[in-house]
């Protein structure tokens, strides 16, 4: 069932920050900016409830905008990865 139709939409919860799937060219730019390969990004499991809710696939990079008491807003990037047993 899509998140919007569920009784509780976790994406609307106040503790869940905004997750967006980045476009390929934005990812490329990000990797160039930090001079890293995609595997050097922090990971997020493909089984994560938010990942499932927004329909991200393994290999996608998520841009997460969080609220911070000191910085106002802060952005974080995570690579969707499969769980390794």
């Amino acid at each position: 069932m899509p998140v919007e139709e569920r009784e509780i939409n976790i994406l609307k919860h106040r503790l869940v920050p905004e997750h967006t799937i980045m476009k390929d060219e934005d990812v490329k730019e990000l990797l160039e900016k930090f001079n890293i390969s995609i595997n050097q990004l922090p990971k997020i499991l493909n089984t994560d409830p938010v990942v499932k809710a927004i329909g991200a696939k393994v290999g996608d990079v998520l841009k997460i905008v969080r609220n911070s008491p000191t910085a106002g807003k802060t952005t974080y990037y995570r690579l969707v990865s499969k769980e390794v047993a």
């Binding site: 990004l41 008491p69 952005t75």
Partner: protein, 813 residues
């Protein structure tokens, strides 16, 4: 190049291949005292005498790593450290065909699915005995079973890179002599290493077993000796096995065998690999010295003459270095010189002239530690970065390290016998880095909470509190005297008398403007570096609370704050030295009318509690949300006894006392609090356990002296006496309950938080802020894109944040 390392079992073939010699003799030396060939000290096992060459590799001592030997055991034995694994394998395999028949060692599969043989579950008796049903399995039997297991079944057992039968020892490797050197005593007698002793035992019993088998001795003798061989080989690996006695030396001391060398805190891993000894360091007891600066450390002369700093001789310093050398054996001089070819030479009084002529640019001299040298100072446990800070040396004639009392807080040190370590930096780069990053003043603001962690303590605060009272005046001469004692050159107003506030203002930086609340809640106003109104107390200069230290550090920088702390703390002490400061019982003597008022207030509270209890019994209690009637009653009683009455009594006590030293300490926040004064002079108040009144004890009552169900204050730990008056026996008991609880709590908390800290440190130790601002671990994987996600360095912050409003105001002003 080493591509990978594989840890697996060593095969007997490999043991033989690696060995330089087979050991067959139990004797170590021949009649002339030379090591016997084929003995445990065989010269082919490596050299241990300086000057000789190794018989196997031809290298000398120091470059020859030693060579293994081996002993062929007549009967195989179990490798004790693998006995659990052997047991698991035996339980999972068929004993007749060797196939794996069970999926886990606990599953009981009796009939083999491959050959149909019946298997009995193997019983294991620690440390190395196995039974197949009732009959004991000998190592030979076990080896036969393990040999049958086909290679294809090994992955199912979780074994890779080896054969299971190698778990049974047939060839025992003999470690090289270099890892078990013998010691020659003064008497000329040789004393062997424990490992050598152990191996002699093994070889001797192996020989006897062999002889007995050859002459066809009865089975029970052979099995006894076999058992003994097993025991010796087992204790060779681990001498602390449960179930068997430890092998002992002739003196009764247990032998230190292989496992003892590695395990525990004193073992190879924690002692030699995880930790190392350092040169150019010193350790001694610490003592306080309020007269030295916070970034100084007093170093005993004896230590200063032992620790050195390498100085390269140049054309510019050669004369100074010569003068130093000529000063031998006094301080400061030079201990060693290092010639350009690396040769080291000791400087002594009889060769100092010769050496001072010899030195030329390019020589390195190791000079004594001198005043103002930068060193690192550390106290364990090093829990945060302020546990190691850089100090400036001040050589003293005493035998302890001395440090300013204001700097004990970050080290968490006291002077009841604490010892601290000192490290002398050996390179210019290290000294530059230390002075930029590690000096004490750079750590005044703690990264833990963004406020000052170094500040004034105790007497410093009392002194300044008294000095800055509204009515304190000092003669102009005294004022100059005080200022010169603390090293301030000042231009005092041309008046006969100077007020305490004016005197204090001399220490404030020019142009400082702030207003804040004092501990008592009064306004403190500082305009243009002058204290206009208010008294200086813990809220102004105290550690972790001092607003002045905070603001000066932020607006004028660490060096100004450093100077300020040095001077203010000394001023406080010097002022107390002049005026005198002492406490006694008189200081907590309440006037009779105050005592009466307190008694009346307690009676009132007790009456209030009694009426609460009556209401409760009558079922008319005010129920609180989520609480039962009895819980609500307890809440109400606690509020009356521990809150309202204490607050009122506090007011009575506060008004009853005029200024005296004890009260000043409490009011200024120097030491103790008003609560302590109340507990001493008036009432101790409610004793608590787990946040409630005391209920523990007998059924329905705390002590057998009270009626069952008595809910009155006295029966549940309300203490109406003060410590000065003395407690009644019941009160004393209740107070002991609270006391013990807080003691337990404290010790448990420190243990837990210590371990938590250790885990955090181990988890975060490789994280590092890269030059691009990202935080990465040792795999170069990004952990954070922005430090702290807000780019705020807590050690440079204003209580963890950025006070934008204050910054804007300071710019607009």
């Amino acid at each position: 190049m080493i591509r990978s390392i594989d840890f697996s079992l060593m095969s007997p073939a490999m043991i033989k291949k690696l060995a330089a010699v087979e050991i067959t003799k139990a004797e170590l030396y021949d009649n002339d005292g030379f090591p016997l060939e084929g003995g445990v000290m065989d010269p082919r096992l490596g050299v241990i005498d300086p000057g000789l060459r190794c018989r196997t590799c031809g290298l000398t001592m120091g470059s020859c790593f030693g060579h293994f030997g081996y002993v062929e055991l007549v009967r195989p034995v179990i490798h004790v450290l693998y006995s659990k694994l052997i047991h698991k394998i035996l339980r999972m395999t068929c004993h007749s065909c060797g196939r794996v028949i069970a999926t886990s060692p606990t599953a009981s599969v009796k009939k083999c699915g491959y050959c149909g043989a019946e298997n009995k579950p193997v019983r294991f008796e620690k440390p190395y005995t196995f039974y197949d049903g009732e009959t004991q399995l000998t190592p030979t039997d076990i080896r036969a079973i393990l040999e049958k297991i086909p290679d294809s079944d090994l992955p199912a057992l979780g074994i890779s890179g080896g054969r299971p039968e190698w778990l049974i020892i047939t060839l025992l490797p003999i470690p090289p002599v270099i890892m078990r050197p013998s010691i020659t005593l003064e008497t000329g007698e040789r004393s062997e290493d424990d490992l050598t002793h152990k191996m002699v035992d093994i070889i001797r019993i192996n020989q006897r077993l062999k002889e007995n088998i050859e002459i066809g001795a009865p089975d029970f003798i052979i099995s006894d000796m076999w058992e003994l061989l097993q025991y010796h080989v087992a204790t060779f690996y681990d001498n602390e096995l449960s179930g068997i006695p430890a092998a002992r030396h002739r003196s009764g001391r247990p032998l230190k065998t292989l496992a003892d060398r590695l395990k525990s805190k004193e073992g190879r891993f924690r002692q030699n690999l995880a930790g190392k000894r350092v040169n150019f360091s010193a350790r001694t007891v610490i003592s306080p010295d309020p007269c030295i600066s916070i970034n100084e450390v007093g170093v005993p002369l004896v230590i200063a003459k032992e620790l050195t700093i390498p100085v390269t001789v140049t054309e510019n310093n050669i004369e100074a270095v010569r003068a130093l050398i000529m000063n031998t054996p006094a301080w400061p001089s030079v201990n060693y010189i290092i010639r350009p070819d690396g040769k080291k030479k000791k400087v002594a009084p009889d060769n100092k002239e010769e050496i001072s002529k010899e030195i030329a640019p390019g020589y390195i001299v190791e000079r004594h530690l001198q005043n103002n040298d930068i060193v690192l100072f550390n106290r364990q446990p090093s829990l945060h970065r302020m546990s190691i800070m850089a100090h400036r040396v001040r050589v003293t004639p005493w035998r302890t390290f001395t440090l300013n009392v204001s700097v004990v807080a970050p080290y968490n040190a006291d002077f009841d016998g604490d010892e601290m370590n000192l490290h002398v930096l050996q390179t210019e780069e290290a000294r530059a880095e230390a002075s930029l990053l590690m000096e004490v003043q750079k750590h005044i603001r703690s990264p833990r909470f963004g406020g000052p962690i170094i500040g004034c303590e105790q007497d410093h605060i009392s002194g300044c509190y008294i000095l800055t009272a509204d009515d304190t005046v000092v003669p102009r001469e005294t004022a100059f005297c005080l200022l010169s004692e603390i090293g301030v050159v000042a231009d005092l107003p041309a008046k006969k008398t100077i007020t305490g506030k004016e005197l204090f203002s001399e220490l404030l930086p020019k142009g400082l403007n702030i207003e804040f609340k004092s501990k008592a809640g009064n306004k403190v106003i500082i305009r243009d570096g002058k204290l206009i109104e208010g008294r200086i107390d813990t809220k102004a200069i105290g550690r972790e609370t001092g607003k002045l230290i905070d603001v000066i550090e932020k607006e004028y920088g660490p060096d100004e704050a450093h100077k300020f702390i040095d001077r203010v703390s000394l001023l406080g002490i010097k002022w107390l030295e002049r005026t005198g400061f002492t406490i006694g019982l008189d200081d907590i003597e309440l006037p009779p009318d105050a005592t009466d008022a307190i008694k009346a207030r307690i009676a009132e509270a007790e009456a209030a509690v009694n009426s609460l209890i009556e209401n409760y019994r009558a079922g008319k209690i005010d129920l609180l949300a989520g609480l039962s009637a009895s819980q609500s009653l307890e809440r109400h009683i606690l509020k009356v006894l521990a809150k309202e009455s204490v607050e009122d009594i506090g007011k009575i006590v506060n008004n009853a006392f005029k200024d005296n030293c004890a009260i000043r300490m409490a009011r200024s926040g120097a030491r103790g609090s008003m609560t302590h004064i109340i507990q001493l002079s008036a009432v101790v108040g409610q004793a608590r356990m787990l946040g409630e009144r005391i209920h523990r004890g007998y059924r329905g009552r705390t002590l057998s002296h009270f009626a069952v169900g008595d809910l009155s204050p006295a029966a549940h730990g309300f203490i109406v006496h003060g410590f000065k008056t003395g407690l009644s026996p019941f009160e004393f008991f209740f107070d002991a309950i609270s006391g013990r609880e807080s003691l337990m709590d404290k010790s448990l908390r420190t243990r837990h938080s210590g371990y938590l800290e250790r885990r955090l440190m181990n988890a975060l130790q490789d994280l590092k802020i890269e030059y691009d601002g990202t935080i990465r671990d040792n795999r170069n994987v990004i952990i954070q894109f922005v430090p702290g996600e807000d780019m705020i360095d807590p050690a440079k912050s204003d209580w963890g944040t950025l006070d934008v409003r204050a910054i804007v105001q300071s710019v607009l002003r």
